[in-house]
C-alpha cells in the first residue's frame, strides 16, 4: 500500500471515532454494577454462586470459630487470623472469629469455599483504601457490616459503539 493512501486510511479510521460515544467510566461519580450479592459458596452442593469477590461479610450468628478459613488462607496470603470476640454465641464456644488483613488478602475467595457453615461470604465492596496499614485490618465486628456499595452503571453496546450507562 502506498504511503499516502495508507496514512489517509489510518486518519479516516481514527477520525470516525469523533462521532462515537466515549467509553470511559467516570469513576467515582459512576460505578459499575456487579451481578449477584458477591461471591458465595454452597458447601452442601460443593459449588460457588457467581458474584464479585470484594471484601468479606461475616455472619456472627453462624460462625463457629472452626478456623477452617484461617487454615485455607495459611498457604495463600496468611491474611486471616482468629481473634477473640466480646459477645458470647452458643454455636461459638471458643468465642473466636476471623479477622482479615486486606493488606495481604488476594481476594481468591478460597476461604469462602472452606467455610462449611454459610458464615463467610464476599461482597461487592472493593473500595478498601485506607490511610494506614492498621486500618486495612478488619475486625469481626467490621466484617459483619453490610457494605453500602451501590453501582448502577454497566457496559452498553449498540450501533454508537460501546459505552457505560445506567
Amino acid at each position: 500500500m502506498g504511503s499516502v493512501s495508507g496514512m489517509l486510511k489510518t486518519l479516516a479510521s481514527g477520525s470516525k471515532h469523533l462521532a462515537i460515544k466515549r467509553f470511559t467510566l467516570r469513576y467515582p461519580e459512576q460505578k459499575l454494577r456487579f451481578v449477584g450479592d458477591g461471591y458465595q459458596f454452597d458447601p452442601k452442593e460443593g459449588v460457588g454462586i457467581a458474584g464479585y469477590r470484594g471484601r468479606h461479610i461475616l455472619y456472627h450468628d453462624k460462625c463457629t470459630g472452626c478456623q477452617l478459613c484461617s487454615i485455607a488462607c495459611e498457604g495463600i496470603a496468611e491474611a486471616i487470623s482468629m481473634v477473640k470476640v466480646d459477645k458470647q454465641y452458643k454455636q461459638n464456644k471458643k468465642g473466636i472469629m476471623p479477622q482479615i488483613d486486606y493488606g495481604k488478602c488476594v481476594f481468591c475467595g478460597l476461604c469462602v469455599d472452606a467455610c462449611p457453615f454459610y458464615a463467610l461470604f464476599m461482597t461487592d465492596d472493593y473500595e478498601l483504601a485506607a490511610y494506614t496499614k492498621e486500618h486495612l485490618i478488619y475486625t469481626p465486628d467490621q466484617l459483619a457490616v453490610k457494605p453500602k456499595y451501590q453501582g448502577t452503571y454497566e457496559i452498553k453496546v449498540d450501533e454508537l459503539g460501546a459505552y457505560h450507562d445506567e
Binding site: 495508507g6 489510518t10 479510521s13 451481578v35 461471591y39 459449588v47 460457588g48 464479585y52 496470603a77 478460597l110
Partner: protein, 385 residues
C-alpha cells in the same frame, strides 16, 4: 571514539577492540534493563558496533520467585492463587494445565458443562492477554492510539470474565474437578453481545495499526525467523506459527472439548515482526469463534465435582500441556500420595523465547530492538517463575 575513554570505568559501558588502523572499533556493551521501561524486569546485555547489534545476551532471573518450590509446601487447592501470579494477564491459561494434571493424578471426573466453561474462559482470557500485549507493542512503537483502543476493548472482555468468575484479573476460577461457580443466567446473552462487538472492533485495528505505513516500516522484514530456525531454537506459540509451522496444542493434543469445536490454526510464512504481530490478531478471531461455539454447545448440568477439602493425589506422575496465549505451557506433576505435590515443574513459553530473541537480535539494528523484543511475546515474570 577514543575521546570517550572517560566512560570506560562505568560498569556496563565498555569500549573494546581495535580496528586495523589502531583506532578503537568502538564495540559498546550496553545493559538494557533490568529497569528499562521497554524490557520489564529483565536485562539484555547488548554489544553494538555503531548501530548494529553484534551480540545480545539475555539475562533473566530478576523476578524469580520459586513458584515450583512453593508448590511443594501447599496442597492442591492452595496452589491455585499463587500459580496464576507469574502471568496475571492470562491467568486461566497458566492455571489450565495444572488443573488438568491434578485431575489426572487424583483421578477426578469433570462435568461436561465445566469443560465448555473452561474452554470459553480460556479463550476470553487469550483475547484479554493478546489485547494487553498489543497495547504495549503499540505504545513501544510510538502508536498511542493502539495503546488506548486495545485497553478499552479489553474492558469488554474483562467485564465478562469478572461476571463469570468474580475477579477482573487473577480469576482463580479453574479448580480440579471443574470451575468454582456456574456462569450467571444473564451471562450468555451479554457474552454474545460483547464478543460480536469485539469482533467488529478488530477490523478497525487493521485500519489504524496493521495497514499503517509507519507500523509496517518498523516491522516488515525486521527480525526474520526462518522455519528451520524456529523449529531448531524451540520457538512456540504465535512466534512459531508466524514462521509457517502449523503447530497448535489445541489441535495436536486436544484437551477438554477442543476436539468438538471447529476452528483453524493461523499460520503465516514471513516470520518477521509484522507476522508475529499479525498472527495474534488473526487468532483473536478464532478465539471469539471458539468462545461463541462453546456458549452455543454448552450443556446444562453441574459444574464442579464435589471433593473433600483436601484432595489427595495417587502415587504417580502427570504431564499436561495446553496452548496458552503465548504458546505451549506444560506442567509436570509428581505425587507421592500426600495432599501436597511432591514436585511441580512448569515449562513456560516465555522462557523458550529467550534463545530465539538472542538469535534474532544478532545483526539487527539497535533501533529495531523494541520491535523484535515485543514481537517475541516475552514476559519476564513468567519466564523466571
Amino acid at each position: 571514539m577514543s575521546g570517550m575513554g572517560s566512560a570506560e570505568g562505568i560498569p556496563g559501558f565498555q569500549i573494546e577492540g581495535k580496528g586495523e588502523d589502531g583506532m578503537d572499533r568502538g564495540i559498546l556493551t550496553l545493559s538494557v534493563g533490568p529497569q528499562h521501561p521497554g524490557s520489564g524486569h529483565f536485562r539484555l546485555v547488548v554489544k553494538v558496533d555503531g548501530d548494529i547489534i553484534v551480540e545480545a545476551l539475555p539475562d533473566p532471573g530478576y523476578v524469580h520467585r520459586g513458584e515450583e518450590k512453593m508448590c511443594e509446601y501447599r496442597n492442591y487447592i492452595q496452589n491455585i492463587p499463587h500459580l496464576e501470579r507469574p502471568m496475571i494477564a492470562d491467568s486461566c491459561g497458566i492455571l489450565y494445565p495444572y488443573v488438568l494434571a491434578v485431575e489426572e493424578i487424583a483421578n477426578i471426573p469433570v462435568p461436561e458443562r465445566a469443560k465448555y466453561i473452561r474452554v470459553m474462559m480460556a479463550e476470553i482470557n487469550r483475547c484479554i492477554f493478546e489485547l494487553y500485549w498489543l497495547g504495549i507493542y503499540g505504545i513501544f512503537l510510538g502508536h498511542s492510539t493502539m495503546f488506548m483502543w486495545p485497553m478499552a476493548d479489553r474492558e469488554l472482555l474483562i467485564d465478562l470474565a469478572e461476571m463469570a468468575s468474580g475477579a477482573r484479573v487473577t480469576h482463580a476460577y479453574f479448580v480440579p474437578g471443574g470451575v468454582r461457580n456456574d456462569i450467571p443466567d444473564a451471562f450468555p446473552e451479554k457474552a454474545r453481545r460483547h464478543l460480536l462487538y469485539f469482533r467488529n472492533r478488530l477490523k478497525e485495528y487493521r485500519d489504524i495499526f496493521y495497514d499503517n505505513p509507519l507500523f509496517q516500516a518498523r516491522t516488515v522484514g525486521v527480525g526474520v525467523l526462518s522455519r528451520e530456525d524456529a523449529i531448531n531454537l524451540g520457538a512456540t506459540g504465535p512466534v512459531l506459527r508466524a514462521s509457517g509451522v502449523d503447530h497448535d496444542i489445541r489441535k495436536v493434543e486436544p484437551y477438554d472439548v477442543y476436539d468438538e469445536l471447529d476452528f483453524d490454526v493461523v499460520t503465516m510464512k514471513e516470520g518477521d515482526s509484522f507476522a508475529r504481530a499479525y498472527v495474534p490478531w488473526l487468532e483473536m478471531y478464532e478465539s471469539v469463534e471458539i468462545a461463541l461455539q462453546a456458549l452455543e454447545k454448552m450443556p446444562s448440568g453441574p459444574v464442579r465435582t464435589k471433593l473433600g477439602p483436601n484432595p489427595k493425589g495417587a502415587v504417580g506422575e502427570a504431564f499436561k500441556r495446553v496452548e496458552a496465549a503465548r504458546g505451549e505451557l506444560a506442567y509436570y506433576l509428581v505425587s507421592d500420595g500426600n495432599p501436597r505435590p511432591y514436585r511441580v515443574k512448569l515449562s513456560v513459553p516465555s522462557f523458550r523465547e529467550i534463545p530465539v530473541m538472542a538469535h534474532l537480535l544478532r545483526g539487527a539494528k539497535l533501533a529495531d530492538m523494541p520491535s523484535i523484543y515485543w514481537s517475541m511475546n516475552y514476559w519476564p515474570v513468567e519466564a523466571d517463575r
